[in-house]
């Protein structure tokens, strides 16, 4: 147990970074997913193509490869480190890549949610004179959102797990810090148990909170 106590500050430092990256990626993935979903449903073909290409690209390659490519590969041909800053670029690029990857899945979740809303709702909104934007904003999205909550929470849990893939590109999150501690103490079993437990606590509480939220929404508004 001493191993745990002695190295707890290091591990918790990693945990803090894991949580920060998770929060940023979850916010960004929803923003990106919403924009891309609306593009995929747009009347303008080029917007649809761009959004589809984005979704397919990020869903058809592994996140780890995407991270290596964008965080380590791109600076080899572009002076990104100079533009953004030697230290800033990997941090920003890692967060962005993770967000784009999760955003591709969120795009499909939001798109399916929007398409799941009865066509008559949209027609009724248009027939009182609402614009396409108002129809989406006040009528379609609020109804789509409710049915999107469960898959979105799933994706958020996935995102928290996926932050562990940031370790290989140098983000000092939980797994990264764990490896450092193990290298110094050889307490492999203890440290991995601790790390697994920490992930479990976070993700389990996220899904519990959302189950509660979902029930509340169901009762108040039908």
């Amino acid at each position: 147990m001493n191993v745990v106590w002695d190295n707890l500050p290091v591990i918790l430092g990693g945990l803090a970074l894991t949580i920060q990256y998770s929060i940023i990626a979850i916010i960004l993935m929803v923003v990106i997913g919403l924009v891309a979903a609306l593009m995929r449903l747009s009347k303008l073909a080029p917007l649809r193509w761009i959004a589809s290409a984005y979704v397919e690209m990020f869903r058809s390659t592994p996140l780890l490869v995407q991270l290596f490519f964008i965080v380590l590969g791109l600076p080899a041909i572009l002076p990104l480190n100079q533009w953004v800053g030697q230290l800033t670029y990997p941090i920003v690029a890692a967060a962005l890549t993770l967000s784009l990857n999760e955003g591709a899945y969120v795009t499909e979740i939001i798109r399916a949610g929007i398409l799941g809303v009865d066509k008559g709702q949209k027609e009724a909104a248009l027939s009182v004179g609402m614009t396409d934007f108002q129809t989406m904003r006040y009528i379609v999205l609020p109804q789509a959102f409710k049915r999107m909550i469960p898959p979105l929470v799933n994706q958020a849990a996935q995102t928290i797990k996926d932050t562990s893939l940031l370790a290989p590109v140098g983000v000092a999150e939980l797994v990264y810090k764990g490896e450092i501690v193990i290298a110094a103490t050889f307490a492999s079993f203890t440290i991995w148990t601790l790390i697994a437990a920490l992930y479990f606590i976070i993700i389990f509480s996220v899904s519990k909170c959302s189950a509660y939220l979902e029930r509340r929404l169901q009762v108040d508004k039908r």
Binding site: D118, G120, Q121, E123, A124, A125, L126, S127, V128, G129, M130, T131, Q134, Y138, I139, P142, Q143, K146, K221, R222
Partner: protein, 240 residues
């Protein structure tokens, strides 16, 4: 109030409306009848731009639907529509259903929109339902709210697409009564319906549509008792 010239509408290669021309006067109540698939809904949906035309011209509520500079959203504010499936906004209360158009589209204040909505709810016989959600109301009640929602925009014309077809028989009367009152007040109305009693009693003119054409039209009393065309006769024989 409405003027339609040589309206054609195709879905892909399938021509649904094959040249419709007609003219609806202010305060006139026109009833559209015809067999399933004859293009009645498509015709109605072209009138407020829910379907785009393939060719032809439509003028409605003083605006040219087919003009290049027409603001379709502006036009729809003047053309109310009532759907077979009611299509009330399921996530909003009855009051919000009625006020959201005036508030968001006409930028009415909430207080003003609420006051108008309460008046309209009383008018369609549903006072006190403001805070309910659509799923808590019966079909007939929902359809009356849908009528109130359309009226809240103060339209010049009201379009009804089989407003009572999705209702249990005992609820048909209450909806038809609201429509009848509207007609008496002088609302210009185009009503697609299978309710021949309503057509006879309230309609000023009946259009019989079949296979994308207006086959015959006339005063209800004339058309029902003395149809001229074979197709009209055989249709009426089935429904009367």
């Amino acid at each position: 109030m409405i003027s339609v010239k040589n309206l054609h509408k195709s879905f892909g290669h399938h021509e649904i409306l094959k040249g419709i021309s007609n003219h609806v006067e202010e305060q006139e109540v026109v009833v559209v009848i015809g067999p399933s698939g004859s293009g009645k809904s498509t015709f109605l949906r072209c009138l407020n731009g829910l379907e785009s035309l393939t060719s032809g011209e439509i003028e409605i509520a003083g605006m040219n639907l087919t003009g290049p500079k027409t603001d379709i959203h502006k036009l729809r504010q003047h053309v109310g529509m009532v759907f077979q499936q009611f299509n009330l906004f399921r996530h909003l209360t009855i009051l919000e259903n009625i006020t959201i158009g005036p508030r968001k589209v006409k930028k009415q204040s909430t207080a003003e929109a609420n006051a108008i909505a309460r008046e309209l709810l009383a008018k369609v016989g549903l006072p006190g339902k403001e805070q309910r959600y659509p799923d808590e109301l019966s079909g007939g009640q929902q359809q009356r709210v849908a009528i109130a929602r359309a009226l809240a925009m103060k339209p010049d014309v009201m379009l009804f697409d089989e407003p009572t077809s999705a209702l249990d028989p005992e609820m048909v009367g209450e909806v038809l009564q609201v429509m009848k009152n509207l007609a008496i007040e002088g609302m210009t109305m185009v009503v697609v319906t299978h309710e021949m009693g309503f057509a006879r009693e309230v309609g000023h003119r009946v259009l019989f549509m079949d296979e994308g054409y207006i086959v015959e039209e006339g005063k209800p009393s004339d058309l029902f008792s003395n149809p001229q065309m074979e197709r009209t006769k055989s249709f009426l024989a089935k429904v009367l």
